[in-house]
Subunit: 696 residues, 2 copies
């Protein structure tokens, strides 16, 4: 995160090169072959026979001619410039090919497998290749990848067959097989692509660089990625935050077992799944939970804009499916709009008496296309309705095709989002084809439809909130004060700050700590108090009787101090007031191996371990965004008035997380940090940190 | 529940009649017509043109002949017996038709709408019809229904077109439109039916009677139902408990909004959704959360037996989909089996080096049918593998059809469950068709596959547990003792028991209550104590200062008693020891309008309202089943050793719920019951009820 400005600059320089890589006018195929079944042959066929209009060169030292055309022994022999070289030769020859060709061509796609994914030797080969690429300013996609496809150029620079339709979905895949399967499903589902890019081992070009590139690409409306790991977490965060296009990511590897499957598969670092979700949420990425959601999101988003409000209307020709659709709204942020009496009257004006003019609007089983059309026209006038689902079951008297036509016509003229839920098989097939061609998304089942629209809407709302998030400047003065404390502790041979020091550091970040007294203050103490040892050498205070609670008099206190001194000779101790422990919060910083420091917060107290009511926060420097995060966290209930309980101080909690975000950002020198507990109250007493651990 | 024996007997008598209804040899169509578009015409066509071999009579007073055959004016005019009359005449004429025909025919399907679903007048008509039916021992399906279809008799006694394939799925639908849609989807998905039955208003024949009938039906393997309400909850419970076939129910109406949509739709009483889930769980019903799950469950269950163990193996030709499949196992009861070293060796023997022999077993992208076959043969020998998923993505070199053939062949010889996840579009279509024809279920996505198999397995395990659940005998002596207490309180004009009385009642059901002292015991009291008013007139004790805590001496106690007496002149009060409140449980009985008494239990204390950690228990008279319920409840964490916490006494909790189950069963006279709190400890102190409310 800290070096992001430099990195962003580098990305910009690279961008034009990626453009040349993905829009090449001249392509060399290294390892081109006439032999059927060889990848070199498939590449030639895909590039030359599917409509690509650029120039193609064959490179293969074994041939002087291929397909009746000149074949070069080396890349360097080709006359004039080459935009892109696609390499499909055995892994051991790849370095040589790249080195030899580097003077002629800067962009490579390495199809060949046999690198870091197979063995230590392969890893060494890949590392050396990367170093060469960096030194010579090359751009390499792969190795161990399928290649890429740009349908609007009719360019299939991959060894997967076929040419998908040109459209607005960019699909980046860390699994070649999945890319092939998705292209096959897409054909059926009418998903159209701007790019399909297989990233393979992500040696050099990774998801983040592709995000940058695809964000600038005019043809791309939605960026869809299947990922098994994020290569550079900090750079990913900065890049994703800055992108306004929808990014849909299917991130595999949710469990230990699947992470194991990944490591035997491509060796990607999978990362903690919950933190991944936090990062995606806070950077405006739509996370698909599974392959089905991934498709649903891609389909819908490629067809519609973000719903302009949360209001949805449902029209149906069948009661049961209407009820099932209503059920699907449970727990969603989008909602069924309540229709006003005059709006219901407009519906009643043309509907039979037995119809329901509540939302879902039941047009009845004998509804023809006119009822759908008229109902849609009534809804068109209602501002609160941002989206409309048209549900249909093919009853014997249902003119399915004509209804589809009316919906398509309405979809063309309205600003609202329209999607359909045509439930059936053969009887609805033709109509669904029509709908697809008109960019109206059909869902087979109500739950998919509602969940997908909801996710898109929620993403839009979050993205809006994120617009004003900027990177924080470091407060150098404050930082120096904390570093001085750390320096002093280190000089004294300690690995942690004393509570008094930690307390001073916390004050700089707006977190109030509990008072402490020392031995000198005995006459000023207000009882009851606790005594505890304050030392980096004593981690679990209660285990070794380093903590004595409920001390009510000076006599007891002196006795307790004696015990502590006896248990921990030569160690520091502190005296604190014994506060009422009603509700306890814990806050900490976790240093994630992929994404860097992440703030952790949750409920403390006896059930901490059991309820696991903990959330993660990517350090945020914007109070509105922290507030929203808290109100969507597991402890949001504390900040809402509930039966028998006044709300706790939300702004106090916001200030704490704001402060700790800055701490995480400014002082990477801290190795471990947590406050456990912070006592919070809902009677005006505010929040107070009782124990702060700063390991250095 | 209480009258179930009598009712079960009645059901048995009815059964043979339902058999006659659904296997009629002679059918009369009342309202038969030659006019195209009329339901009477559709019925004639469906019954006479789709292969039904029984005798058909037309009844319509307006005609003497229809389709060149005699047409009767009345049912009674038909010579000989009639098994079934299907009525499609305007609602107002229906009662007349039934009354007139009752001497000739006992079984009716009333297609006509215009009854309780439309108006108060319609409701009256339906009530009268039901009374007549009961008095004359008739069986009526409907009114306001689609009819029914029995494919293996080629009998379509409905106004939905077509003849589904004959198979083992019985589908009962409370929505006619959904039945039509499902038949249409089923055609595509190769789902085959023993019966399709539209129940309409469920005036007389309801889901429970159909459960009984379909359980006995030899052709039916799985009973699938779309329901918007359960008509007779207690009868449903008893019947469902006794059925060993899988029952899959899609129960609509999860939210208030959808219940509203239902009431405007068929007027079914939707019921509390969470209780519905409890009932389904405890009676061995598989609840489908949505239409997609419903289909997946029906498809899979119609093809396979319950998995014999939780072990699953996955073989795949692509890493990415393998990882996604692994992800799908998160939180499931089925699990990926760990392969033994010698099993891995067997796989290594024929797989390329880069393959993964962990589970999922990655056969690599160039896998042909032999690798699938050999891998399956290795798995066949592993007892811990109860089920196998074959994942496939159609890569260019993948012989999809041949692989399908090998899987089909393996499926025919193995005892293990085999299902496929062929991910793709056109390239896998033909193979999927083959698989369908061979009763191998294909899922389009890994998550569906894993979730569906898991639900089936979990159902099987639950069903096994349920086998020894019997109805409890009432303990008449105990019952009398409690009734005496209630009687006495009523005589004294009270609406609730005193704590001392409630405490005695609780002792009879094995729940230990806290000691109490009265004014007379002052000298024996051990402090600290609490004083509280004990009266049916004071519901919220704390609001009116009816509860004083932390009394440490006799002086304080006398003062406190004075306050209470002053606040509540003439009321009873009690003195209790003040116990340490570490963990609190609440237990109560909810009288559900559909299912009768339901035991409620959960976490008490400050977060009761917030965490809503409450579960429901259908009164259970079997400790094993209660134990299992607790260990699957929201408070199961209390009964497991966790970091920093010893486990609480599970058997103590089982005893309490066992006792309260009997209380709910034996004393329906109790109007409201709860214990709040029961204090529980994990240091051998056991559980103790502090406050018991018994409203009579």
């Amino acid at each position: 995160m800290r070096n992001c400005k430099r990195e962003l600059r580098i990305n910009k320089e690279k961008m034009s090169k990626l453009e040349r890589l993905f829009k090449p006018r001249k392509i060399a195929i290294v390892g081109a072959s006439e032999e059927t079944g060889k990848i070199g042959r498939v590449l030639v066929d895909n590039i030359t026979k599917l409509g690509y209009s650029g120039e193609v060169f064959f490179v293969n030292p074994k041939h002087q001619e291929l397909f009746g055309k000149k074949c070069y022994a080396k890349l360097s022999e080709i006359e004039g410039e080459v935009d892109l070289a696609i390499i499909s030769v055995p892994a051991k020859f790849v370095p040589e090919v790249v080195q030899e060709g580097a003077s002629k061509v800067k962009n490579f796609v390495i199809i060949s497998a046999g690198f870091s994914e197979v063995s230590a030797e392969g890893k060494k080969r890949e590392d050396a290749l990367l170093q060469f690429a960096q030194e010579h300013d090359l751009n390499i996609l792969g190795p161990n990848c399928l290649g890429f496809i740009v349908p609007n150029m009719k360019l299939n620079a991959s060894f997967a067959g076929g040419m998908p339709e040109a459209g607005n979905v960019a699909f980046v895949s860390q699994s070649g097989a999945l890319a092939v399967a998705i292209m096959d499903i897409a054909r059926k589902d009418n998903i159209k692509f701007s790019h399909i890019i297989s990233v393979g081992n992500k040696m050099q070009i990774d998801e983040t660089e592709l995000l940058e590139f695809l964000d600038k690409d005019e043809k791309t409306k939605v960026i869809a990625m299947y990922l098994e790991g994020i290569k550079d977490g900090k750079r990913f965060i900065e890049t994703a935050r800055g992108i306004s296009k929808p990014i849909v990511i299917l991130k595999a590897g949710k469990t230990e077992k699947s992470q194991k499957a990944i490591s035997s598969h491509t060796g990607a670092l999978a990362g903690s799944d919950e933190i991944m979700t936090t990062i995606f949420d806070q950077t405006g990425v739509l996370r698909a939970e599974n392959l089905e959601e991934f498709f649903s999101l891609i389909k819908l988003i490629s067809n519609i804009e973000v719903p302009k409000n949360s209001g949805v209307a449902v029209i149906t020709n069948a009661g049961g499916p209407g009820v099932l659709t209503t059920d699907a709204f449970r727990g969603m942020k989008i909602e069924l709009v309540n229709l006003a009496p005059e709006e219901k009257d407009k519906l009643r004006a043309f509907l039979p008496e037995e119809s329901s003019v509540e939302n879902p609007i039941d047009l009845l089983g004998d509804a023809g296309e006119e009822r759908y059309e008229k109902a849609l026209n009534v809804l068109e006038e209602i501002d609160g309705v941002g989206s409309i689902f048209c549900v249909l079951t093919p009853q014997d008297q249902t003119p399915v095709d004509k209804i589809a036509d009316k919906i398509i016509a309405f979809g063309e003229k309205t600003d609202k989002n329209v999607a359909t839920i045509f439930i059936g098989g053969e009887r609805v097939e033709a109509a669904i084809e029509k709908l697809k061609d008109s960019a109206i998304t059909n869902f087979m089942f109500p739950d998919q439809a509602v969940k997908t629209l909801n996710d898109y809407f929620a993403w839009g709302a979050r993205k809006q909130d994120k617009k004003d998030i900027l990177l924080a400047e470091v407060d150098a003065e404050r930082k120096k004060k904390v570093l001085d404390l750390i320096e002093k502790a280190k000089e004294e041979g300690r690995t942690a700050l004393f509570f008094s020091e930690a307390s001073r550091a916390m004050a700089l970040y707006g977190v109030k700590c509990i008072n402490i007294w020392g031995e000198a203050d005995l006459t000023n103490i207000q009882y009851p108090v606790v005594v505890k040892v304050d030392s980096d050498k004593v981690l679990h205070k209660t285990d070794k009787q380093g903590l004595i609670l409920g001390i009510k008099s000076e006599e007891e206190l002196l006795k307790s101090i004696g015990i502590i001194k006896n248990n921990f000779p030569g160690e520091n101790f502190i005296i604190q007031p014994m506060l009422e422990r009603k509700t306890e919060i814990i806050v900490g910083i976790k240093d994630d191996s992929i994404f860097g420091p992440i703030v952790v917060f949750g409920l403390g107290g006896i059930y901490t371990e059991v309820f696991k009511m903990v959330d993660f926060l990517l350090p945020a420097f914007n109070k509105a965004s922290i507030r929203e995060k808290i109100m969507n966290s597991k402890i949001q209930f504390l900040f809402q008035e509930t039966r028998g309980q006044k709300a706790y101080d939300l702004e106090g909690m916001v200030d704490i997380l704001y402060g700790i975000s800055f701490l995480a950002h400014e002082i990477p020198e801290i190795k471990e940090f947590d406050i456990n507990p912070i006592l919070i109250y809902n009677d005006g007493r505010g929040a107070i940190a009782v124990d702060v651990k700063i390991v250095i």
